[in-house]
Symmetry: C2
Subunit: 223 residues, 2 copies
């Protein structure tokens, strides 16, 4: 597959997982090239040439090199003509694409900042042997995520998906971190909200999501 | 202008300022509707109906209501057919739009998290009477922003703008916070890097940017 689509990273990264879900939704052929974070391979000159900030995922499609998971996801969906997953019901559907953009930004700036702290403290730290859980950080972010999910519960009482009646990248981008949250005692944040719970179950039922979930750690919690 | 394009917020918000720059670049007619943050008008039912997270800006175009500044900006540029500012040199230019997306994400996830802390401590707190500067927070984020700007300096040695040879929303979205930074002693972070400094001066020379800058506070620093 030299010269084809390559994703540099590991499926256990929530950011990589979202890119993989988009590739699977698009039916793309791709290769996942492991980056050994423990050996700081992400700080190697090879990887820094792909992403000057040393993060994963990085992405190649022939001569084109990209980074930042949300930018990669949009490129993949455009390339494989899955404009529906970018919110467009028809050519140049400005309102549909705007609503997908709005809720993708909500994921980036409201949801992820809260859930990522919970997942780091309760799951990732143990996975990579980085010490114990800081419960104060967890508690603060559980409260913060609860308020965000209250707005989601309202939104999802009005439409099946965040951007409207179509599933879009705005929904799919929640997969990685939520997958790990659901393996902790804070799964109740999702399970206690009927519309959020039904939305999460609809996402989990998608073949593309199932395929990527099978690549991810089952999730372990620290006590 | 009832039913036209309305931006809810104040130009002094860096997030509102970016939306205004995009509207000015697009040559759009719009109305800026003040939201009194000191009176917590952003938490009013009226405003929460526009943005359930109670932030500014919110945006209306006739019946369509949007929030999240980066989503609003993209909608505006699409509506007024400024696809060049979204990175597209020609119809469906996948590579161009991908590069604009990548650097817009860098702004959101690398640049803003650092610069926003500096601007809050050195400018915003004094502007709204929210207490003194926390110098430890400033110092940490000056170091962080410096590393980010080292990557920008390299990138801007290869191309005139972040996404390539075209100015895009990825550049314009830096305006609000950088405007305030340049009024502090940390302007040297920009001025000490020749390519970053030249890029900032090119942005400031744009008529759309000049027009919005005239609406913003001159910037004051706390000692």
């Amino acid at each position: 597959m030299a010269g084809g689509v390559k994703v540099y990273g590991v499926a256990a990264s929530p950011f990589v997982a979202t890119v993989l879900v988009c590739l699977e939704e698009a039916g793309a052929d791709y290769e996942l090239v492991a980056v050994d974070m423990a050996a700081r391979e992400n700080r190697s000159q090879h990887h820094l040439a792909r992403n000057p900030f040393g993060k994963i995922p990085a992405f190649e499609d022939g001569e084109l090199t990209l980074f930042e998971s949300r930018a990669i996801s949009r490129y993949v969906l455009r390339k494989y003509s899955r404009m529906d997953l970018l919110g467009e019901e028809g050519d140049g559907d400005l309102e549909g694409s705007a609503m997908a953009d709005v809720w993708a930004e909500v994921e980036a700036h409201q949801y992820s900042p809260a859930i990522s702290n919970i997942v780091r403290e309760c799951v990732i730290k143990q996975m990579i042997g980085a010490g114990g859980r800081n419960q104060a950080v967890v508690d603060e972010n559980v409260e913060r995520l609860g308020k965000v999910l209250d707005a989601y519960e309202q939104r999802l009482s009005e439409s099946e998906y965040l951007a409207g009646r179509l599933v879009t990248v705005a929904d799919l981008s929640h997969f990685g971190f939520t997958w790990f949250l659901m393996a902790t005692e804070y799964a109740s944040l999702v399970e206690s909200r009927a519309n959020v719970k039904a939305w999460w179950e609809r996402l989990l039922a998608r073949p593309a999501v199932k395929k990527v979930a099978a690549l991810m750690p089952g999730g372990v919690t620290t006590g």
